[in-house]
Symmetry: C2
C-alpha cells in the first residue's frame, strides 16, 4: 500500500478497481438478463461511489432510510426506492421526497396504505412488501387476501400507484450452499409470480417484481424471471459472502487498516487499534463454532495480499482487536506496523467508519461523514 | 415520555436523573474508599455529560483514543489517561496532547517505551499496562522481569515518568456471579500490589495502582486497595450489566426509541425502525442460548416503564429490529407507535447513535455527532 495513505488509526481502505469491477459485473448481468438494475446504496452510503454506478448506466437506486434517500436525492438521484417499511412518523420527509423525485415506498398493511393515502401530497409509487420466506417483513406470499386488500387500499388513493411487489430473500443467507442459494432465488421468483398473477386476475395492471440480495443476484446467471434486482453488498463483498461461496476473496474491495499496538507471542496474538466501533461485532464461525471477527492480510505496494493462513480477529473490545497470527509472522511483526482486516459484514463496517481511503490516498466521504 | 421528544426515527433517549444518580453513587463510593475517581468517558463521549461528572468533583478522566482525548481536552479537561496501548503511529497527536494537558499513556513493551522516550516533546506520565488475567493487553502480572524492563526503559527518558500500573479486569465479565466478580477485584488488587512491591523494591518511588471496569467497581464496596478506579459503563449501565447482576433495571439510563413499522401477529412479532446500525449487534443469551439484542419497554409520561415480560429484540438487520411481544401487547400495538429498547451494550449503542435526547427533549451532542 502506498505511503500516501500514511495510516495512523483504523482506516477503511477501498480498492476502487475491485469495487468498479464488481459494479460492472452486476451491471452486465442485469443488461444480459433484461432486468432493471436498482442497486442498494445502503452498503456504501457515498455519493461519490454512487457516480461509479451512474457511469455504468444506473439511474434507479434503493436505500434503507428516508435520510439516505434525501442524501442521494440531493446528489441528483431522481428515482429512489426506500426499501424499508414506510415509517408513518416521518410523513414530512416522505412528502418532501415525493415532491422532488420519483419515490417508491414499501407498504405491507392497509393501515399504512390508508395513512399514506390520506397524507401524501405528491405522487408516489407503492411496492407491496412480500415475505417470500425470510420471515422478516412483508405479507406472507400465500396470503393473497391480504396482498389484495393492501393493493385495493393503495388504489383508492389518487396520488398512490401500485408499482409492484418487492421481496428480500434474506433467508438466502441461511441456504447453506451455492445450490441452496440458487433454489431460494427460483422459489422467490415463482412465489412472486404467483402473487402477481393473482393481482393481475383482480384487474391490476402493470405489476412489477423487485427482488434483491447479494447472494442470489451474484450466483444466479439469468435473472429474467423478475423485473428488477436490488443487491447492495456486492459492491464490496465481505467475509460473510466469501464464507457462503458467493464471492472470491479477490473480489473483496474493502479492508480496515489497523495499527499494531502490542504483541503477545506467548499467546500467538497481536493487539491492534481496531475494535467493535470500527469493524462491528458481526462474526462468522470457524470450524469449531468459535467466532471470527475478520481475516487478516498484509499490506502490499498495491493494496493488500491474500488472507494470511491462520490469521484472524479472535475478539473485539470497543477499540481493541485481538489478532491470532502464526508464529512466523508474529515474530517479524513490530509495534507500529499495520495489519489489514477483511471485514465480516462490509455494510456495517462502512457505516461505522464513515469514510474511505482509496489505495491512492483519496478520501471518499459518505452521508455518515461528509 | 413527553411529546416534546416527538420521535420520528431511532432516538437514543437519556434519563438524565438516572445517569446523574449513577454518577453520584460511584463518586460517593470513591470518596468513601479514599481513591481517585477517573471515570472512563468512552461510554458517553459527550462534553456535556462530562460536566455532570465535574459537578461531582471529578477532574481526571480516562478515554479510549487520542481523538477522544483531544475532544475532552478542548472541553477543558486537563488530566486525561488514554487507556489504550500507546499507538506510536499517532506520535504527533500524543505530542499535541502532552504539550497542552497532563496526559497519561499506556505502555507495555520496551519498544513503545523507547519510541516514546525518543519522540515525546513534552512531559507525560506512563502507566505500565498489566494483564491481571483478562488476556487482552498488558504484561502478564507474573512477568516481573518484563515489567521492570519497561519501567527502566521509561525511566531513561527525561520527559517520561512511571506513574503506576494500570489494569482492566475484563475477565470480570466472565466471572459468572456477583461473588465471582468481587473475587476478580480482590485477585486483581493483590496481583497489582505484588507487581508494585517488586518495583518499589527496585527503587521506583511512587507507583500508583489504577483499575477499573463497571462490574467490579459497582459490586465491591471498599475500593481502597488501589489508588484510582476507571469504570465507564456505569453511567448508563445496560442489559449486559443487568444480566450479570451488576445493576438494577431501574438504573439503566438509556433506551432507544424505535418506531413500529409493521406487525406480524401470527409470528408474535412487531418490526421496528431500529437495527444493527442503531443498537449494535451485541447480544446476551436467553435461557436456551438464543441471542437477545435488547429488551422492550413501553414509553410512559416520564420516560419508559419496566421491561415487558416476554418482550425482546430477537433479530436485527441493518435498519430493522424484530421484536417478540406477548399477544396481549401486540394486539393493541399500532404502526406508528414507539417501543423503547434497552440496549445490550450502552457504549456501542451510544457510539452508533451519537446524540442523546433527554426526557425533556434536550439534544446532547457527543464527539461523534456535534
Amino acid at each position: 500500500m502506498r505511503d500516501t495513505l500514511s495510516i495512523e488509526k483504523p482506516t477503511l481502505v477501498l480498492n476502487e478497481e475491485r469495487a468498479r469491477a464488481n459494479i460492472e459485473k452486476m451491471a452486465s448481468k442485469t443488461r444480459a438478463s433484461g432486468v432493471i438494475f436498482r442497486p442498494h446504496f445502503k452498503t456504501h452510503q457515498s455519493a461519490q461511489i454512487g457516480e461509479w454506478f451512474r457511469e455504468r448506466g444506473v439511474d434507479s437506486i434503493a436505500v434503507s432510510s428516508l435520510d439516505m434517500a434525501a442524501y442521494f436525492a440531493a446528489h441528483g438521484w431522481q428515482d429512489i426506492t426506500v426499501a424499508f417499511p414506510a415509517n408513518i412518523l416521518q410523513m414530512g420527509k416522505m412528502n418532501e421526497l415525493a415532491e422532488n423525485i420519483d419515490v417508491g415506498l414499501l407498504v405491507e398493511s392497509t393501515e399504512t396504505a390508508g395513512f399514506l393515502g390520506r397524507n401524501l401530497e405528491s405522487r408516489a409509487d407503492v411496492w407491496i412488501k412480500i415475505d417470500v420466506g425470510s420471515r422478516r417483513t412483508g405479507i406472507p406470499w400465500q396470503r393473497l387476501d391480504r396482498v389484495l386488500a393492501v393493493a385495493e387500499e393503495v388504489d383508492k388513493a389518487d396520488l398512490l400507484n401500485v408499482r409492484g411487489l418487492l421481496a428480500c430473500a434474506g433467508h438466502a443467507y441461511d441456504a447453506g450452499s451455492r445450490e441452496g442459494i440458487r433454489q431460494v432465488y427460483d422459489e422467490t421468483a415463482a412465489r412472486m409470480a404467483d402473487v402477481r398473477d393473482s393481482l393481475l386476475g383482480k384487474g391490476f395492471g402493470d405489476v412489477q417484481l423487485s427482488v434483491g440480495d447479494t447472494p442470489t443476484c451474484t450466483l444466479v446467471n439469468d435473472l429474467g424471471d423478475v423485473d428488477e434486482i436490488r443487491p447492495g453488498t456486492f459492491v464490496f463483498y465481505d467475509l460473510m459472502q466469501l464464507n457462503m461461496g458467493v464471492c472470491q476473496e479477490e473480489e473483496i474491495a474493502v479492508a480496515v487498516a489497523c495499527p499494531v499496538v502490542a504483541k503477545h507471542e506467548e499467546r500467538h496474538e497481536a493487539v491492534v487499534y481496531g475494535g467493535a466501533i470500527h469493524l462491528s461485532t458481526e462474526s462468522i464461525a470457524d470450524s469449531n463454532g468459535a467466532p471470527i471477527f475478520g481475516l487478516v492480510a498484509l499490506p502490499t505496494e498495491d493494496g493488500w495480499g491474500p488472507a494470511v493462513e491462520g490469521g484472524y480477529v479472535s475478539s473485539l473490545s470497543q477499540e481493541h482487536g485481538i489478532i491470532k497470527l502464526p508464529d512466523h509472522l508474529l515474530r517479524g511483526l513490530r509495534v507500529g506496523d499495520v495489519l489489514m482486516v477483511l471485514p465480516v459484514h462490509s455494510c456495517l463496517t462502512a457505516n461505522l467508519l464513515g469514510v474511505y481511503s482509496t489505495l491512492d490516498g483519496e478520501r471518499i466521504a459518505t452521508m455518515v461523514a461528509t
